[in-house]
């Protein structure tokens, strides 16, 4: 295995594109190093992108925030600007691993690892985030974060492509998000179920727009259109959130595995969606 730490994006994409064998991008490394150690992957090349200028920056853009691919959770969670607009995204990132993991793990890494249980992905999707992808030809494209992972461990990225940042758009007035996950312990676990809700209230306190996204209950994060529809136009009364809960449970496509059962995940997906919606609504109310 070869380790490279290029100083420019062009060098990075060039190395990745020209490597004849398997190549991997290293940002926080919290997934990659575990895979390396266990022999799960044996890449010929590892490209560390942390020395490329801008990768560790959080920059204001069009009222929102662009978060570099190498920004670790510990930096993101201390960023008041991002937290003010997207508290649910920040809390999702903060849930990834321990303090030590937070010192390394990045939101983009979480995205590109393409685990169905990735905590930050449902939250980013609910926030309408865009991933910026750089290719070896020097071109960049922006894609919705929900289109990056296509299945467990599989992404839509082409050879040589690197996600360089995630853009979190400006949150509309009277809107907020929340993310909840279920793990058996309080920390250091992979989500058994994750649920992100972002919503916007109108001036009367009714839900004007909403997005509901579930994690760990399908091959990739699931957008629950019916769940959002169940609360849009309501004041999130008991009946509305019960409909959201039912929609989330119905939309979940979980599997039985060592971390949970189908029936458990289905039920808890609804519970967490309901609870996350209530938290998001309270936050949105506080911001109006």
């Amino acid at each position: 295995m070869r380790y490279e730490a290029p100083r420019t994006l062009a060098d990075a994409t060039g190395m990745l594109a020209s490597c004849p064998g398997a190549a991997r991008v290293l940002a926080g490394g919290t997934d990659l190093l575990v895979a390396l150690r266990s022999g799960l992957v044996e890449p010929e090349l590892v490209v560390d992108i942390k020395r490329i200028p801008g990768m560790e920056d959080i920059v204001a853009e069009d009222g929102g925030w662009r978060v570099g691919a190498a920004v670790p959770g510990a930096v993101l969670s201390r960023h008041d600007g991002v937290r003010r607009q997207w508290p649910g995204v920040v809390e999702a990132v903060e849930l990834i691993g321990s303090t030590q993991i937070q010192g390394r793990a990045t939101m983009v890494g979480n995205l590109c690892n393409a685990s169905p249980a990735a905590d930050s992905v449902p939250a980013m999707m609910a926030a309408g985030a865009l991933a910026r992808v750089a290719g070896p030809d020097g071109r960049e494209r922006d894609v919705p974060v929900g289109d990056v992972a296509t299945g467990p461990g599989i992404t839509s990225l082409a050879t040589g492509e690197v996600v360089t940042s995630v853009f979190l758009p400006e949150a509309p007035a009277r809107s907020a998000d929340a993310y909840l996950r279920l793990i058996p312990r309080t920390e250091m676990d992979i989500a058994v179920v994750g649920a992100a809700v972002s919503l916007t209230l109108d001036e009367g306190g009714r839900c004007a727009a909403a997005k509901v996204v579930l994690g760990a209950v399908g091959p990739r994060a699931l957008v629950v259109e019916d769940g959002a529809a169940a609360i849009v136009g309501t004041s999130l009364d008991d009946e509305a959130v019960a409909a959201l809960e039912a929609a989330a449970s119905a939309a979940a496509q979980p599997i039985d595995d060592k971390r949970g059962t189908v029936s458990y995940r289905r039920k808890v997906a609804g519970v967490l969606a309901r609870r996350a919606a209530r938290i998001a609504a309270t936050r949105a109310g506080e911001r109006s």
Binding site: Y3, A5, G29, V34, D48, A74, T99, Q100, G103, R104
Partner: protein, 158 residues
């Protein structure tokens, strides 16, 4: 297999070593530099026994490639005590019996020091969550949490 040359700073001293690209910072500290205070409990970032500071940030040395440390500053448990004097956390751990087998202790101390530098006045819940990535199988955490809280109070001059 050609080795990579890494120049780094460990506990304030310049350090150089050669390593294979697949080696972790933990491997290099232990096997190349003889700093065996950082322990390998899992090699997957789940136990925290290899906690070190990399560029002032708390990380698991098992989840950092050794080559990544080139040009960076690393602090380990071996650098925690001053000359002839223990850090107040080290003293408090001894005073309260906050260790049994002691193999997790270096990781806890490095992590707790990072906590107190960032949050001088943590409550019990904050201490517990900050240290959730450091596994201890002997103590039930009770005396460790007390030692961190008491040290924090001492350092604040209470």
């Amino acid at each position: 297999m050609s080795l990579q040359h890494v120049t780094t700073t460990v506990n304030g001293d310049a350090a150089e070593f050669l390593c294979d690209a697949t080696e972790t910072l933990l491997d290099a500290l232990r096997d190349r530099l003889g700093l065996t205070g950082s322990k390998e409990g899992c090699a997957s970032g789940d136990c925290g026994a290899c906690s070190v500071m990399l560029e002032g940030r708390l990380v698991c040395a098992c989840l950092v490639l050794a080559a990544e440390a080139d040009g960076r500053e690393v602090e380990t448990i071996e650098g925690m005590a001053g000359t002839g004097e223990l850090h107040p956390l080290q003293t408090k751990f001894l005073e309260l019996g906050a260790l049994q087998c002691g193999v997790c202790t270096p990781g806890f101390l490095v992590a707790a020091k990072a906590l107190l530098e960032e949050h001088p006045d943590p409550d019990e819940t904050e201490v517990r969550y900050w240290l959730a990535g450091n596994l201890c199988r002997c103590t039930g955490y009770d005396k460790i949490i007390r030692a961190v809280l008491e040290t924090a109070a001492d350092l604040r001059g209470q």
